[in-house]
């Protein structure tokens, strides 16, 4: 049964000012439309260019559910290609990442392509003479994603023509990337440490919303962070606080802490928690780091960079970054009720190793399938995914600290426990879902 395809009014009706219909999470049809419209209309994160440092290096990922390749061409430029052979559709690469040399070769019939996707050669070329091959869909080679933007190493792509250009789409939100990158004395990041992959039986948007949900940590994470606080209380006085306790304990901060920390709202569904302070504010200093930053930027600027304590910056549609610890989470949709979460970590080029060590520890303690904090969250998402099938109430409430004039406002900092960011994400969802419909 189709209710939503080609029906912009029905899709818009799923998002109200203060609530959203459960179909945005549970309907397979809505999910398919997200893949056909919302993701292709948006600038979606593909990868970091340090993953493909040399000509011929490639990395395979997805935009929505479409397989794409990030690849470094011989001229040094990074391209994004649809990962599909123009002959019969075979996925070109077999490993997630690697180096293909000067060209890609399809493993099925050996058509080959330059690293910008253009067709290089076909075996037994004669068989295509006088067939009008030059006019076929296959002749241009692997289709490139036309709209690609490399922002200081972070590569985004937009599949559809039209819509917003890169600057318009992200606007001031790019300041969170700037701050994360500027934390390197060399002004440069490198993917490092390996990627954690965590499968969630729930809708991808539940994870995105949760990044600005500051009313849940002290409740859902009482089991993990609360236990850390309790166990740590029993340590003999004067014991040095371990890095792990510094990382997990702030999840138990009271409502007041989160209210005061603030949330910033930007256009198009982007925003960040931690305007004034955050759960990352009180980490111990890393020996030698501030000196390096001062040498690179001067003391005043170094202080300003490190003084930002943005907690989670959400980039619509499906990534979140944590500037103060150089981490990026990618919420990859698989089905209405299935999401792969990839957690990537970055090394600050020219900074002490201890920063990467802390980043990796954070990733392991919070985002791993073996982490205790992650278990708390996943349990809640999966319960929600099941509970939403109840017909007792078809609506999800997002009303907290609602104000009727908020839709017109942008770049405002509000109470840190507001559900404004979630309402804002759904306004963007509605806009990009129905754009051009």
């Amino acid at each position: 049964m189709t209710r939503y395809a080609g029906n912009a009014a029905a899709l818009r009706a799923l998002v109200r000012e203060q609530e959203v219909h459960r179909d945005v999470y549970v309907s397979e049809e809505v999910f398919q439309l997200e893949m056909e419209h919302m993701f292709p209309n948006s600038w979606v994160y593909v990868g970091h260019d340090s993953q493909v440092p040399n000509a011929g290096d490639y990395f395979g990922t997805t935009i929505g559910t479409q397989p794409v390749l990030l690849v470094r061409h011989t001229d040094g430029k990074v391209h994004v290609l649809h990962n599909r052979c123009p002959h019969k559709g075979t996925r070109i690469t077999s490993e997630t990442c690697g180096n293909t040399g000067k060209f890609f070769r399809c493993p099925y019939h050996a058509w080959s392509f330059k690293t910008d996707g253009s067709l290089l050669a076909i075996p037994l070329k004669k068989g295509y003479e006088n067939t009008g091959f030059e006019q076929s869909h296959a002749a241009p080679g692997m289709a490139p994603v036309r709209h690609v933007r490399n922002y200081r190493g972070f590569v985004f792509a937009k599949i559809n023509g039209g819509g917003l250009d890169f600057e318009e789409f992200f606007g001031e939100s790019l300041s969170s990337f700037d701050n994360m990158i500027d934390r390197s004395p060399a002004g440069q990041l490198k993917v490092a440490g390996g990627v954690l992959r965590y499968m969630h039986n729930c809708n991808w948007k539940m994870l995105v919303e949760n990044q600005t949900d500051t009313c849940h940590p002290m409740v859902a994470h009482e089991s993990s962070a609360g236990t850390v606080v309790e166990v740590w209380k029993k340590a003999p006085p004067g014991t040095k606080k371990p890095m792990a306790v510094e990382i997990i304990a702030p999840f138990m901060s009271p409502y007041e802490f989160f209210e005061n920390m603030g949330i910033r709202i930007w256009d198009n569904g982007h925003g960040h928690t931690g305007v004034h302070h955050s759960i990352h504010s009180d980490y111990s200093a890393v020996p030698g780091y501030f000196e390096k930053m001062t040498a690179a930027y001067g003391e005043e600027r170094a202080k300003a960079i490190l003084g930002e304590n943005r907690h989670n910056t959400v980039y619509f549609p499906n990534i979140m970054i944590k500037g103060p610890i150089q981490l990026l989470r990618h919420f990859k949709p698989i089905a209405a009720n299935k999401t792969l979460v990839e957690s990537w970590t970055f090394q600050l080029v020219d900074a002490p190793d201890m920063l990467l060590e802390r980043t990796l520890m954070y990733n392991r303690l919070i985002n791993a399938p073996t982490s205790i904090v992650g278990h708390d969250d996943l349990e809640m998402y999966e319960r929600a995914q099941e509970g939403l099938h109840s017909n007792g109430n078809e609506w999800v409430n997002l009303q907290r600290l609602y104000s009727p004039d908020e839709a017109e406002q942008t770049n405002v900092a509000v109470n840190g426990t507001s559900e404004w960011p979630m309402r804002h994400q759904f306004r963007a969802w509605s806009k990009f879902m129905t754009m051009g419909m």
């Binding site: 990627v195 954690l196 969630h200 089991s223 993990s224 792990a244 392991r364 303690l365 278990h375």
Partner: protein
């Protein structure tokens, strides 16, 4: 139950059989959810390591699934008992099937013994039952006449796969 009580070592240097019994006992204590006794098998400076990468050598600057000292392990054990540990309502259960542990190295002078154990580990919760295949490497030493774990390393055969929750200990 006698098999399960921690037997004192007969001599200062453990026999192969004593090393094997120790490793088998560890798995059984996890399966029976006797986590406090299980924790006591670990030395105070012990680490429990589950690499994320095939043949991983560095637990510090490469991410792991777990790399936990005794404080973190005891936090996990406390959490499993918690009244508001929602992801453990209802509780998970687990089951180890071990091949006979092999004694890879013994160095009495350095008080260091290493065993290698192939195993299948099953974790269940609600309707879900998940099978993992792994090798466990135990680095053991003798402290106050008893064997203690200095390092337990669990290498999953599919360490880099995307997993759902893994809640207990392998």
């Amino acid at each position: 139950m006698s098999m399960l009580a921690e037997a004192p070592l007969k001599n200062a240097v453990p026999t192969d059989q004593e090393l094997i019994d120790f490793v088998v006992r560890e798995a059984r204590l996890i399966d029976q959810q006797r986590f406090d006794e299980w924790l006591d098998m670990y030395a105070d400076d012990a680490f429990y390591w589950m690499p994320l990468e095939w043949n991983q050598t560095d637990p510090r600057l490469t991410c792991s699934l777990m790399y936990e000292d005794k404080l973190l392990l005891s936090i996990r054990v406390e959490r499993l008992k918690g009244a508001r540990t929602f992801s453990q309502k209802p509780k998970s259960r687990c089951h180890h099937v071990l091949q006979t542990p092999q004694v890879d190295s013994r160095d009495a002078a350095a008080n260091s013994y290493v065993t290698w154990t192939a195993m299948h580990y099953v974790e269940t919760r609600l309707e879900e039952q998940t099978l993992y295949a792994a090798w466990a490497t135990h680095h053991l030493s003798v402290e106050d006449g008893k064997l203690r774990i200095k390092l337990k390393r669990v290498d999953l055969i599919n360490c880099d796969a995307a997993f759902g929750n893994i809640q207990l200990f392998m």
